[in-house]
């Protein structure tokens, strides 16, 4: 009976119901689309960024992140590889070892401190796009397989080097021995400052670190599975430090987060305004029926039953409008995740220039707007509902 009253009350002032309903519908679409676009665009940026170099997960030796050292490395990277492959199966995109150490670069009279990163070109290629960022053909091929070195553009410019030039690299091996060797510049890395890249085989020998790596980089087919994969890998190596990209690239992660919170804050303000609009019409609808609600109470309707009828009306409306909203926003989100919308001026997010915004469709950007819209509709009607139930009966009956 209360359901019947609530439902029929909705059809009494169709224009007002429509207006309220459209506000709810609009709020749903606005929030769902914002979440979709933010998720899609930032997801795209994060995916590009992590696949660039850091990967989605990294396996490190305990304590390595705080105190990187060759002495604190991962033995038998190949074994780790095959275990991870087994555990992650289809989810795994690629997995690559890295070996890192500090070194000195000597070129002519110049001596510079550099970070040495050794990579396995074959595995790296399956895992990240690091190699694609190197200018100068495919490095570590043929005669240059061993003594080739890749420098950042920054270093090349500072040392006034060009491709094909020789230089000397010095470093301390894991056993404490000092090594130095002559290398030939075979590529230029566009990103980064004082980093040089060596071939893994050569570097292990050069740094007296046979059969070890300092990091294992893991990329997944789907970035969104990072958390689950993280759990699996942690289970696999309880004695190692396994971290997601959010920790490894903390600064980037924080920048992404604060960008997004600014957008969500704006959305929140819009929703608040919309709720205010709904409050207004709901208030009118309820005040208008003060007398009627008074009669229901005279007849013996309990306070909580009356509140139920009033709130139910708005919940029914918001549920219906959210369903329509879900259909509309779902369709738009799918469309935008496939086609994107061209953005008038290119925007830069996380060092990446974008010409399109992308949508995304997932449970959270369907469900959260649903919860937000339905709950705020209920909350907005709750206040006048409680007032109606508390109003002295004589007053309620006196009002027209």
């Amino acid at each position: 009976m209360f359901w019947r009253i609530a439902l029929r009350n909705l059809f009494r002032n169709k224009r007002r119901t429509l207006l309220t309903g459209l506000t709810m519908w609009g709020s749903y679409i606005l929030s769902s689309m914002t979440m979709g676009l933010v998720g899609g665009t930032y997801g795209f940026v994060i995916d590009q960024f992590t696949r660039g170099s850091s990967g989605h997960l990294q396996i490190l030796s305990q304590g390595y992140l705080d105190r990187p050292s060759l002495q604190n490395s991962l033995p038998h990277p190949n074994e780790i590889s095959s275990q991870v492959q087994q555990a992650l199966g289809q989810e795994l995109q690629g997995l690559a070892p890295r070996l890192e150490a500090g070194g000195l670069l000597v070129s002519g009279k110049e001596v510079l401190g550099v970070q040495i990163i050794a990579i396995d070109p074959v595995q790296e290629k399956q895992t990240t796009r690091l190699l694609q960022q190197i200018q100068g053909g495919s490095p570590w091929n043929g005669t240059n397989a061993n003594n080739g070195i890749v420098l950042t553009r920054d270093l090349v410019e500072r040392l006034k080097l060009t491709l094909g030039k020789d230089l000397v690299l010095m470093s301390q091996g894991a056993d404490g021995s000092l090594g130095n060797d002559r290398f030939k510049v075979i590529g230029i890395m566009n990103e980064g400052a004082s980093t040089v890249y060596l071939n893994m085989n050569k570097a292990q020998e050069f740094l007296s670190s046979q059969e070890v790596a300092t990091r294992m980089i893991i990329t997944l087919k789907d970035l969104n599975h990072t958390d689950e994969a993280l759990k699996k890998v942690r289970l696999l190596f309880p004695d190692k430090d396994i971290q997601p990209w959010m920790v490894i690239e903390e600064e980037f992660y924080r920048a992404m987060k604060s960008d997004q919170s600014a957008i969500f804050l704006t959305m929140g303000i819009f929703l608040f305004l919309a709720a205010f609009g709904v409050l207004n019409t709901v208030l009118m609808a309820i005040l208008e029926r003060t007398r009627e609600f008074g009669i229901m109470r005279v007849l013996g309707t309990q306070d909580k039953q009356l509140i139920f009828v009033i709130v139910l009306e708005q919940i029914l409306l918001s549920l219906t409008m959210c369903l329509f909203g879900a259909l509309t926003a779902g369709f738009l989100n799918i469309f935008l995740s496939e086609h994107g919308i061209p953005y008038p001026a290119p925007i830069e997010i996380g060092g990446m220039t974008l010409h399109h915004l992308y949508g995304s469709l997932n449970w959270s950007n369907m469900l959260y707007p649903f919860i937000v819209v339905v709950c705020s509709s209920a909350a907005v009607s709750l206040i006048p509902a409680i007032r109606s139930a508390r109003l002295p009966l004589v007053k309620a009956l006196g009002e027209r």
Binding site: M1, R4, I5, R8, N9, R12, R291, E292, I295, M296, R297, V298, L299, G300, T301, Q302, D303, Q305, P392, L393, V394, L397
Partner: protein
Amino acid sequence: MGSSMEILEVRQVSKTYGVGANQVRPLNNVSLKIHQGEFLAIVGPSGSGKTTLLNIMSGLDRPTEGAAYLAGLDISAMDGNTLADFRRDSIGFIFQSYNLIPVLTVFENIEYVLNLQKIPKSERRKRVKEILETLGLKDMESRFPRELSGGQQQRVAVARAVVTEPKLIFADEPTANLDSTTGSHLIQFMKELNQTRGITFVFSTHDSHIMSEAQRIVSIKDGQILSDSFK
């Protein structure tokens, strides 16, 4: 009348609105006892305090001083929800302006309180049908209030008040919005229910015709009882 069971009593009831110079006192130290089965009219000029007295007797309003007892219970001391249950189960209401629930049909309006009482559906149907028949509303059960004349709406209101078989029905100027023929028909209905079912009726009126039907007339003026006469 034969029955002397007391069903309602107000004891030295006063009602005050406002403070200081703005103070009004629509009821001033009124005491009244009403017995089961009475058909009682409260009469008096406009503003004399009829509505105020009815509201206090029926538990819609609380007195500033004094107390009201319904079936031996002090209703001026009951909390809102207890009072709501009490009204639902023991009292019927009829108003000047019908006050049906506009989104419910005639049938559903009458059924409403039975619903609150959680009476099973088949029993509800039976009782509503029966009262519709008695009041000649059978053909209108699926109409909405706005599709009825004032007299018809008021008959539905009577049906709604009666269907729960309350001990007591309060009617505040039930015929004021009706023409005299419709009004006296309605009073006939009420009188019949009073006689056949023993329901106590307490109503207020300006209408001399209704007054003539009443078995007891309490006349008030300026918030005080002027006379109390039985037929």
